[in-house]
Symmetry: C2
Amino acid sequence: MTKTTTQGSADFIPVTDRIACFDNDGTLWSEQPMYFQFIFALDRIKELAPQHPEWKDQEPFSFILKGDMKSALAGGEKALMQLVAATQTGMSSEEFEAETKRWIATAKHQKFDRPYTEMIFQPMLELLKYLRANEYKTFIVSGGEEGFMCAWTEKTYGIPCEQVIGTVMRSTYEVVNDTPRIVRQAELDLMNDGKGKPVGIYNQIGKRPVFTAGNSDGDYEMLQWTTTASGYPRFGMIVHHTDSVREWAYDRTSPIGHLERGLDDASKYNWLIVDMNDDWKEVFANEN
Amino acid sequence: MTKTTTQGSADFIPVTDRIACFDNDGTLWSEQPMYFQFIFALDRIKELAPQHPEWKDQEPFSFILKGDMKSALAGGEKALMQLVAATQTGMSSEEFEAETKRWIATAKHQKFDRPYTEMIFQPMLELLKYLRANEYKTFIVSGGEEGFMCAWTEKTYGIPCEQVIGTVMRSTYEVVNDTPRIVRQAELDLMNDGKGKPVGIYNQIGKRPVFTAGNSDGDYEMLQWTTTASGYPRFGMIVHHTDSVREWAYDRTSPIGHLERGLDDASKYNWLIVDMNDDWKEVFANEN
């Protein structure tokens, strides 16, 4: 680290180029048994069901209302996106922000009985702080949806919304009775995953990161784009979920957080594999 | 100002909500006789013509090569976007950045014989600095294209790329011989003008600004969204181009920087109209 912040060092990086990008789901907080934004969608379906009697006979809503999660999730990411669209759009930006803040402040993870913002990883929090103390600017680059993340990342990670790059739902600007609002539409504008991540970084930051942390093959291209650049020293790391007791253990066969190409090519690109079980003294923040 | 930065004041705004948004073309720098990014496109057409013999018989390129600007521009914004696509895409992000930096460092505005980065407005630079000194975070929200602006806004205005919200061209991530690059495509992803501006702000900043400066009807919705929000004091201003000697005078009848609804509704929304001729002691930066 010191060599990148010492003027005159061959590896010195000017402050404006000290860009560090972090995936969120599985890298900064947990993502099992499914991405937390989807759990938010499921919780809202139960809440909103009385206003939607038609959901009783309509898949995947009907499965969820009967508690049959296995069938509900059989439709894969498409079915999940349908749930997000049904529950997290069709309202103003400010209504959605308030709903998200309410959920994140009150909901708890079933397995650990902890708020989701306490399912964030203590060693990663320390890494964020360490980088910022060395004048690195920290960004989130996530497949999670921008509006969802922006409601809580500043408070939870110290990362303001303009340093959050996420999947973007289409929004429209509407004025009724001289009162404008942004309305979230049930349509994707940009999917920020896989090859979309380096593109998202280019569009929002305009330069290659010198530091990238991820945990799944959805981060592969972001890691590759970071660590194959010339000029400065570059660093890539993968959080490997290996602790089935304190968190979860999964990689090559998991549909959520699938990690295969990343493990295969880590040595080729010199990516550091962090073994959660062996390397992390603590897992979650505020655990003790 | 002081009342928004004094703890305990009824108008106090916490630092995280001190968001100030500035249009670029016509607000931070000039935009006549056409947006400077289009002049860049014209300059590149002349440069690239030897490699494109077909342009001699192809409108609007043929007009430009003959120096017939009036016919070239008769096609309106569509023809201009075609020129941007022909000259500023189909290359990697890093090639485009280098080209833009080269142009902005060497090209000069015909009327004033000054580099374009010295066609920025001294009073606006002072305003940016004043806001930042009071812990306001300053953003650019422009119809200009993201990659073009990001090549020079940090150095010129002190505004880094992640605080620049612009029109987004589609880009793709491509890997050839293990070397990845981002390639700019001749297709628009998001047009950041008019109603697109508040949407762009929502997607990137996640909250309403408390301060907005613009100069044309393309900024109307951004101003409206800013100044109709409740909670904090809000401020909107319009730079009115009234100085035909030191800069240009134009508003209701100009196709570039068209300003009509903004003038009509300024008093209704309490927007400050800044008269360039009467109110500005200096116009351009580094003029003396």
